[in-house]
Subunit: 328 residues, 4 copies
């Protein structure tokens, strides 16, 4: 049995808190959120108590902490939690600064406690099946990875301003997936990016449309493209071209219904909300975290995975801003 | 708040019991099953108590009863429950005999209590969306309904022997869907059927492969085909051809992953277990039952729907056995 | 080298004449049509001469005759051509009367000349591939055949009146395909039919929406459905359910283009004109006729195939009109 | 009526020669090929005469010349043909050197004769429909173009050695499509490339797997990926993400047949030979050339289009070799 505290009872905190509470080998002990009614509601629903963050981290009946607070607090909370002897699951990113992530991981290393980073897409049943089949050899050697990721609509400019920019906020998931699928570190990063969706995003110093090329030392290639707006839903696709064939994971439609008329065959848009699209991924992610702790194994994706994705996001940001190729 | 007792804690009782227990406006009070460990396990999981069926039906803190026991007990339990003032949700069929169903519905009528029959497929999000779009006029007038329904593998012959035959046991779901989609009663039934999958099914006096034609008074047509075996999963499809177009609901694949090689493009088989395929349908079905009770409205599908599907199944059975067209 | 005369230079005569003319081992010698400009145009285009039908049948430099004239003339022309020593390709049907077909086939038998009937769909590359894979064992034993065939729009009522009715005019293609795919003769025919598309068709004594069930002696089943109107194009699909799997041939879209917006994913309608949809089938059909003649083999589909499809169409017509099952 | 001479009677010369010969407003007058039997066969088939290249260019009964000879001869032949007053259709590329192309186009300009370059993919019915719908506004402003192009198998290394490299030989088609779809010139080129398919290609100084990013002055982005080997056929896809939606052209499967078994749903591989995949594109391309000449209009794609695609291919080659971004 793993006893858990969730820090942050917002949108993502609720997801992880509920998934933890409903896991047969876990118990949600505590919920913390500066917004008291949010903490109380989630606590009531899951049978947990409401605590301050300090209390939760100090609590002797808590084995592991789920960090679902704003990004700026992640690194500090990770450090405090591992120093208090807790295992930690932390939403991505650890921090917007790679240096700060490095220092945080050093503290985690000293404390010797497990840390898992919330790259939820690795756990999506479609993407996880795709990865498993690559491991099973169904497409031979991986040569060329294509990742398409497009949000239904851009976030408010106020969010954009403190997001770290598209590459660190949005593409970081795809950069992690590229590493996951290439199974080799990229050594070269190219990027182009524009503000085409909303000029206000450009004024805020960010971009909303971007594409990246990655190359590994052995010559494998990944191409990623992002847009902050897709009228047809939350577009999330992967294609891997290998020596023996191609494997791809298509989008998930809202329903399987199709209407045929003189205009053609109209199938449903894709699921457009990330909490719906990745509901099962979040559940399986929590299961993976709990399984690792129960088995005494290091969870995956690790803090190192969080750092490496961040380094790629930094490189892509610089590549897009300077127009230069970044070598790693 | 609706307080419920579930009678029967087998495979389907667990589904309904859990869905009822997790509904925000319902509470599962009691679980009954002659197999005590099953009752205890479900009760423990849902916070309910274990009762005998007699106790559950008599309990003053129970508003509604979920009948998930063997078919032969359904009609009696419905009668006893409504006479005790309970609302009833009963798994299909009410009985294998239409006459017995008629007598039972008469008792329900006298008691004036709500009765809903578990034709779960009406609640499948794909099929429900298809129906809604028909109501919205997306394909004009319904003219020709095609229902394809194939099980992954035949049940044991021992089950077949007491099942009432393929038409009453399996096709009854499709006959209900045909009525649901035609929105008009069939008046003519044609059927052909064979034992092609397993000769033992033929020896047991049943069939495993069947097709039916239905015609309504206004000339609308439905065609249904069933097989007890589909190597590629649980095949559940609907097509409705209307005056303005065609609408169809495709199967639900296990994942969206596809592998392309020299052999072609291989997509996943369809979900092959009915509890997985219809998990969401069962949840929405329970919600519909509870919503109707809370709103004081008659639930759908009604006991009358159960009777009419049974009459069609009887007619199809006779049509297949005699080779004659059956007029209703 | 096969030297050919085409009788009839209308829509289908042009197709067969051109395909014959462009075949490397055939030469189109003669074109006949009471409408002189049609005959002249096709003759000019293909390098053939214009002849009367009498001349064409008598011509010593003609080895084979392509009968593309109105249905009422088919049987007579077949008889005259085989008696003149010609091989014959005749568009379906030989005649609307099965008795007349039987007499005609008797004459063909006496003459000992090859006769092929134009059931073009057997030669469609999709359907022919489907059939070949069944023969290769890819789905095991055939158990349940589903044929969906829907025209883009009904023909004029004047055409309907002399067409022999939907079953003989339209479904006959599907009845032939059912025999082709079942590889066993149906012994039981059920049919339901309505005039739902256009009341004028009903007034003319015909139907526009129909479904048929066929059963063979060994218990294999075929279901066919027809509509005279499909807003989304010329709907031509086959599904065969077998002991080892399912094989199907989907429709052919106009292009592979798909547009995704908030409304969903809109793919192109299917090809809506039979001459376009079956262009390649017509070409391969002519090749099969010429190959058979050059090899001295009996062509397929044979006159017997034409007769058997007609008998099924007669049975379906009677079944739909009387409501009775027809045993063959 | 346009009177044509085809120079080169190899694989592609036969295609263009036959398409020209079968066009109602064109006549193929002459066929030239140093390999006499090839020239004679095509001439016999199309009713043309055999000429030397010198004779064909000088012939007074020839209005236009189709240049289907080896790449190294293209620029010279274009110059000679326009100087002799002929309209010219030339297979891509004009030359492997952009400077040579520039000089050639200057001569074409002086001569004032029409020149069309054979970028056949613009004429593929799927891609042409996609482009037309973009022009019709179906997806709003173009923001992000994705082009996937993969050959079934690499050419012999001997071919590779004189091909000018993957970017000039293979990706040039995609670079032209990118310009065609972006409707704006790229100003920035990024490329990564590797020899992953066959080490012999790497030893020959070329690559077999490559990806490119293009950016236009207004910030539109195109990403292209190529592989010299695709086990599942000739992979030719386009996706255009716009402000109002996404439009894509899928691959063309060999047939529409699909087999479902326990392994899943297996659809056919895609057409794997470019002459089959683009048969209709070649026909429409020739029609476009002839229509332009008959209408006295400048044909498209123009010599300028040929030059600009070549400049992009040069830039991509340099970008891949140096690892630098190339600004245009």
């Amino acid at each position: 049995m793993v006893r858990l505290a969730v820090l942050g009872a917002g949108r993502i905190g609720k997801i992880h808190g509920r998934n933890a509470a409903s896991h047969p080998q876990a118990r949600l002990i505590s919920v913390s959120d500066p917004h008291q009614p949010s903490a109380e509601a989630l606590a009531a629903e899951t049978g947990a108590r409401v605590s301050t963050i300090d209390e939760a981290i100090a609590a002797s009946d808590v084995d592991a902490v789920l960090i679902c607070t704003p990004t700026t607090t992640h690194a500090d909370l990770i450090e405090r939690a591992v120093q208090a002897g807790k295992a930690v699951f932390c939403e991505k990113p650890v921090d917007l600064s790679s240096d700060r992530i490095r220092r945080c991981l050093a503290e985690v290393g000293k404390a010797g406690k497990p840390l898992m980073i919330g790259f939820n897409r690795r756990f999506d049943p479609n993407f996880a099946t795709l990865k498993q089949r690559i491991l099973d050899g169904s497409v031979g050697e991986v040569e060329l990875v294509t990742i398409i990721s497009r949000d239904p609509a851009p976030p408010p400019v106020s969010y954009i301003e403190s997001s770290g920019g598209l590459f660190r906020d949005m593409m970081i998931h795809d950069l992690d997936l590229a590493r996951f699928l290439l199974a080799e570190e990229p050594v070269e990063v190219h990027a182009v990016a524009s503000a085409l969706v909303d000029p206000a995003i450009g004024k805020a110093g960010d971009v909303d449309t971007a594409a990246v090329l990655l190359k590994t030392a052995s010559g494998k290639i990944a191409q990623i493209s992002n847009s902050r707006r897709a009228t047809y839903g939350y577009d999330q696709r992967i294609e891997v071209h290998g020596s023996k064939g191609l494997i791809r994971a298509h989008n998930v439609p809202k329903t399987t219904v199709e209407v045929a008329t003189g205009a053609g065959f109209l199938a449903d848009p894709v699921q457009d909300f990330f909490l719906e699209r990745y509901a099962e991924a979040y559940r399986l992610e929590m299961t993976a975290f709990l399984d690792a702790i129960l088995a005494g194994k290091a969870p995956n994706p690790s803090g190192e995975d969080g750092l490496k994705a961040q380094i790629l996001a930094d490189a892509a940001t610089e590549a897009a801003q300077t127009g230069n190729t970044i070598k790693l």
